[in-house]
């Protein structure tokens, strides 16, 4: 230190240098050898409990086979938000999201996986499915049994905002699909139905859990549109004495897909583990766990064994009623799409 420097310079510079070294130190990719036995599964909100069980079961199986105990880390959030985090560099080995569109974007925006990712695993990469059902107050005071009852005047429907929630997009497409099929494919009638439906929606929560809170805690609305697995969670957790589940005559086959993020697994050397992990979801054991958590497994055997009798419902696919996610997103949910056209004017 030169003497003519005032005494404060030294600590200032030290702090700055320390900060810089910490900062640059953090940004170095640390590739530890144990990484090959660590997976990060970036998932969406309602799968928290499901993957807690699946991960434990898979870890047991993998350890029995290879002798190393894998560590599987989970991350949960809104499906779109999670996809954006992966695009921005969250190091996911596998993604298990609410809709294929979000995984498509991993290819379109960052080339993290190939465009045909969905054909790499059985059942278009959706090992478990679900559908959209209604939750009503105990005793069903409004007498709601099917889609037509939702558009009656005076019935109040709770569903989140399709612009911000992946789950809400399934709700919307289920309603759209029902109206479209009922009218023999007449889009004008489907538009009328959606208009009438959203006239009965008093608030638009930004996410599915928010909508559930609005319905259950604030006691707003007569009927909540929800994923079947969420509906069962709600009736079980908050109590069957307050709510009941109504399964409509037909609804959409919701397929939450799973995929390996190629770019990340190849860099980290975790491909084998990641592939085994996703394959495990299709095994009888994986299927039974999915059934236990109120998802509809692909294996009929597992469904039976879990002793879950999910109500029979005629399921139509997204492809039948909207021609795939990219088209659905463009036609219905982008700014100025069908949802905006039908919903915004009535808010005025």
């Amino acid at each position: 230190m030169k003497t003519h420097h005032p005494p404060l310079t030294a600590p200032l510079l030290t702090v700055l240098l320390a900060a810089l070294s910490v900062w640059t130190g953090c940004s170095k990719p640390a590739a530890a050898p144990s990484d090959a036995a660590t997976l990060l599964n970036v998932s969406y909100d309602p799968t928290r409990e499901l993957y807690a069980d699946l991960n434990a079961a898979f870890a047991r199986q993998w350890e029995a086979k290879t002798g190393t105990k894998p560590t599987i880390k989970q991350s949960h959030g809104g499906s779109g938000k999670q996809a954006r985090a992966v695009i921005d560099g969250l190091d996911a080995d596998v993604v298990t999201l609410a809709l294929a569109y979000d995984i498509d974007m991993l290819h379109d925006k960052a080339q993290l996986l190939p465009a045909d990712w969905q054909s790499r695993l059985p059942e278009h990469s959706a090992p478990y499915t679900s559908t959209i059902v209604f939750v009503v107050r105990k005793g069903n005071p409004q007498g709601i049994h099917d889609w037509e009852d939702l558009v009656r005047p005076g019935v109040s429907v709770i569903t989140p905002n399709p612009k911000t929630s992946g789950g809400a997009r399934w709700n919307y497409l289920a309603a759209w699909g029902h109206a479209l099929r009922k009218s023999g494919g007449d889009e004008a009638q489907a538009r009328q139905y959606i208009t009438a439906l959203f006239k009965n929606v008093p608030v638009l929560d930004s996410g599915a859990r928010g909508a559930t809170t609005t319905f259950a805690e604030r006691e707003l609305g007569d009927v909540l549109l929800a994923w079947e697995n969420e509906a069962y969670l709600l009736t079980q957790e908050v109590g069957p004495e307050r709510f009941e589940i109504i399964t409509p005559s037909d609804s959409i086959l919701a397929e939450p897909p799973v995929a390996i993020v190629d770019k990340n697994v190849d860099r980290k050397g975790t491909r084998a583990l990641a592939e085994a992990y996703l394959r495990f979801l299709y095994t009888e054991e994986g299927q039974e766990i999915a059934a236990k958590h109120h998802y509809r497994p692909r294996s009929a055997q597992a469904a039976q064994k879990a002793g879950k009798s999910l109500a029979p419902v005629k399921l139509f696919t997204l492809e039948e009623v909207a021609g795939g996610w990219k088209q659905a997103q463009k036609q219905h949910f982008e700014d100025g799409g069908t949802f905006d056209q039908l919903y915004v004017p009535q808010a005025q």
Binding site: D108, K109, T164, L204, R218, E334
Partner: protein, 279 residues
């Protein structure tokens, strides 16, 4: 404010100024310029169609309007709370002092859920307000309530130290010279705390403009009525429309910056007036 090289507490004006710029650049300017760069991928028409659509304009009005309203309420009540905390000794004072900071510490989503529970039609407050015909949850008023909640600490914490500095004998002198309490307040107290009050107002206002977490639960998110601007940014992101999202955000930033600049200049000016007053 002329920096002088003679009066220095910290070493070397050049060094400290350079460090300040470096730090601000690293933490604020570079991330923000990245944001504007994203916006430039839009053509002028696209940019204009995005930020001048009726829905976005309505959201800007609500975000800035409700933030302004909330900051005003906080200025009045924050001054009151600070005054009570500084001038009186009462049992439970430490508790009140700690309570003031609570909105800082609480995750905003928790705040939003709690407020919505209180103000919705079956909540503790909402029940009675509804009977009087006042709806709070899922209305613009609800947005104002949430923004008031998160902005409360700012005014209290900026005014408090100034009041502590202020000797009571100034007020006593004013009283002995025959000033009414009101006059003492407007001529002695207010000028002294005004710059701090303005700072607190600015902080509360700026914080409220960008608030998202606590508002989305209580606003109901109805297009043209209770959608806040940050929500529209999120909807853009959900469509992977990064440029559109940054366009909406960029306009918010520019407006906020302009407003903050005006307030800062106002503060300078009131400071100078205060300094220039004949002793």
């Amino acid at each position: 404010m002329q920096p002088t090289a003679r009066r220095r507490v910290l070493p070397g004006f050049g060094l400290t100024l350079g460090l300040s710029w470096f730090y601000l650049g690293l933490i604020v300017l570079i991330p923000l310029s990245a944001l504007f760069l994203k916006t430039f991928s839009l053509t002028w028409e696209q940019f204009w169609a995005t930020v001048a659509s009726p829905r976005v304009l309505a959201a800007y009005r609500l975000s800035f309007g409700a933030a302004f309203f909330a900051a005003l309420v906080n200025t009045v009540f924050g001054l009151l709370v600070a005054w009570v905390l500084v001038r009186y000794r009462f049992p439970g004072r430490a508790l009140v002092d700690a309570l003031v900071d609570l909105p800082f510490a609480l995750p905003t989503a928790v705040a939003g859920l709690t407020l919505t529970t209180l103000y919705s039609h079956n909540g503790w407050y909402g029940r009675y307000l509804e009977a009087w015909g006042i709806k709070v949850a899922f209305t613009p008023l609800g947005v104002g309530v949430a923004l008031t909640f998160i902005g409360l600490p700012f005014v209290v914490r900026t005014v408090q130290p100034v009041l502590e500095e202020l000797d009571a004998d100034v007020e006593e002198a004013a009283a002995t010279l025959g000033a009414s309490p009101w006059r003492t307040f407007t001529h002695v107290l207010l000028p002294a705390v005004f710059p701090a009050l303005l700072s607190g107002f600015t902080l509360a206002f700026a914080r409220a403009i960008g608030e998202y977490g606590s508002v989305v639960f209580i606003s109901g998110n109805m297009p043209l009525k209770t959608e806040i601007a940050p929500l529209l940014i999120i909807t853009r992101l959900e469509q992977y429309d990064y440029a559109g999202a940054t366009a909406i955000a960029g306009v918010m930033l520019l407006v906020s910056f302009a407003l903050l600049l005006v307030v800062n200049l106002l503060q300078r000016w009131s400071h100078r007036r205060l300094e220039a007053r004949p002793e």
